[in-house]
């Protein structure tokens, strides 16, 4: 089995130590860092995402795969910087004001990272202004919001209003998700996409950014 394929295989099993060792070895053997990233790490994570969507793997499997990916990325990133590798896009992600739940948001971040996004995590209980400020600061393509409570869900609309007030609504792709969130609600508050799970979010985010470019 080729070393890059092995990286993908071990990542899918969540074997962080193996992934780290194989990425190190692949670099030493002169493999192209972009190939290690795209065909090894990201390919493995995308397979996990697909399986997650089909209920073939579950949250713990995604988490350990993401941990393995991050371990590999830590080794690879200095080389990616050297060769000027660009991310698929940039995403600013947070849980909305009044809400401290973060597991859904974190899963989305992992999946977005797994398809090649640069992620800016705003954490939980995030003010509407902070979403917009950060997006402007880092030149984001996507603003992503999460909420678990039906009482905090309306705060997603406040971010949209903040964008409108600053004349920035069309500049960003706005995506939302979370247990009580629905397609209908997404339409009502005027965001671009609602996705029911983290893997679908990553898939649609990548497509949406590519279409804009």
């Amino acid at each position: 089995m080729a070393i890059i394929e092995e990286i993908s295989e071990f990542l899918q099993k969540g074997r962080a130590k193996n992934v780290k060792a194989l990425v190190t070895q692949a670099l030493e053997e002169g493999e192209d860092p972009k190939a290690i990233l795209n065909e090894g790490l990201l390919s493995g994570m995308m397979i996990i995402g697909e399986k997650f969507k089909k209920d073939e793997v579950f949250v713990p499997d995604v988490l350990i795969a993401a941990r393995a990916m991050n371990t590999g990325l830590a080794v690879l990133e200095p080389r990616l910087v050297e060769i000027g590798n660009e991310p698929v896009g940039k995403a600013v992600i947070g849980t909305v004001k009044g809400d401290l739940h973060d597991i859904g948001k974190n899963l989305v971040m992992m999946m977005l990272k797994g398809v090649g996004f640069e992620i800016h995590d705003l954490g939980v209980d995030v003010e509407p202004e902070t979403f917009v400020d950060k997006a402007e600061e880092v030149g984001a393509d996507i603003i992503g919001m999460s909420a678990l409570l039906s009482t905090t869900m309306p705060n997603m609309g406040e971010v949209v209003e903040e964008l409108k007030n600053r004349g920035l609504r069309e500049k960003y792709i706005v995506m939302i998700g979370g247990a009580p969130v629905t397609e209908k609600f997404a339409r009502e508050i005027g965001v671009d996409y609602y996705t029911p799970d983290a893997a679908t979010c990553a898939e649609i985010a990548k497509k949406a950014v590519e279409e804009r470019k």
Partner: protein, 335 residues
């Protein structure tokens, strides 16, 4: 027929009265914000199921009020942060931080819970004609999440560190001891809980669940049966995959998000387990019309009622429109 007899008949699928037992759950959020509506519902549609008081002789290590703004500490030592008055907060920093659980000694097993006043419980049970549930509610998975934080815990479960495994055995032994003490009282049912579903699937692989957690719940259910108690369990989310397991191990009534799962998918379980609520609190109670609620109650009754098997339960929590909660009980009463 007393409310207690009504609940027993419902759990045993021998309820021929056309009266469905009721129970409204409230959170401090609704108790503080809508006291008048809560009074009205309790007055017009009194609960048939109530919880026993747990008066402890020994003080736990709990500090603060988890339903108020700020940081509180639970009986196990986990710090809970709350920014939303009236509902429970979140653990932001794990109590056990080490991946190998080397700092497991930070956890305090709340043996103080064993000091509950048995005489008070028994007197309470004798003083009421309503069905009484235990004043303890083991929740191994949820407590492990509080101890370790959700993400860490999920990863730990894929390859359980030795010290974590030892702690889980201790925790389970404690929960069994606690449940057995409650089962020795005159309560009608023991209760336990853990939220096992996401919006569309189980949180962990069903085979992993069956390997690690199902045996724990089986032990709990067997304690209940040993003392002729009914067994009630709560589990949020999409838990269709494991509902037959609950029926198999002897759970009599399960409180779950039956609308998240889909009522029709539950039809094969009608007559095998009692659905202890609920009504959809994510959408129906928040934004439903009176007609929507009438249709929802009818759907549950037509699909799941088999001379029993349903309890008219719903949670009056954040986001729920007070009138909609009222409509739930009104519709269940209008059979």
């Amino acid at each position: 027929m007393t409310p207690r007899e009504l609940v027993y008949a419902t759990l045993e699928f021998e309820n021929k009265t056309h009266r469905v037992p009721r129970q409204m759950w409230t959170l401090p959020y609704s108790e503080w914000k809508y006291p008048d509506m809560i009074d009205r519902i309790h007055r017009e549609f009194p609960d048939d199921i109530i919880g026993a008081p747990a008066v402890l002789r020994e003080k736990t290590i709990e500090e603060g009020d988890p339903y108020r703004h700020g940081v509180s500490r639970d009986a196990w030592g986990c710090k809970v942060t709350n920014i939303h008055e009236g509902i429970i907060g979140e653990v932001l920093t794990p109590l056990v931080e080490d991946e190998e659980w080397e700092d497991v000694d930070k956890i305090h097993i709340p043996r103080e819970w064993l000091s509950f006043d048995r005489d008070e419980v028994n007197a309470f049970c004798r003083s009421t004609d309503r069905f009484v549930t235990s004043g303890c509610c083991p929740r191994p998975f949820e407590q492990l999440q509080f101890i370790r934080k959700t993400e860490n815990l999920y990863m730990d479960l894929t390859d359980i560190p030795e010290l974590m495994g030892t702690f889980m055995k201790d925790m389970h032994a404690f929960y069994c001891e606690l449940l057995e003490e409650w089962a020795k009282t005159e309560v009608d049912a023991i209760t336990f809980m853990d939220d096992w579903g996401s919006q569309s699937s189980l949180l962990i692989n069903p085979s992993l669940w069956r390997q690690i957690f199902k045996p724990m719940y089986k032990d709990y259910a067997e304690i209940g049966k040993k003392y002729n108690k009914k067994v009630f369990m709560h589990s949020d989310g999409y838990i269709l995959d494991i509902l037959p397991d609950f029926a198999e191990i002897g759970v009599d009534a399960v409180n779950s998000q039956i609308f998240c799962i889909g009522i029709d998918k539950l039809a094969p379980l009608a007559g095998k387990i009692t659905f202890w609520g609920e009504m959809d609190r994510q959408h129906l109670l928040v934004e439903g019309t009176a007609g929507d609620i009438q249709a929802a109650v009818s759907k549950v009754r037509e699909t799941l009622w088999k001379q029993g098997g349903c309890i008219a339960q719903c949670e009056f929590g954040p986001g729920a429109a007070p009138q909609n909660v009222y409509e739930v009980f009104k519709n269940w009463a209008e059979w």
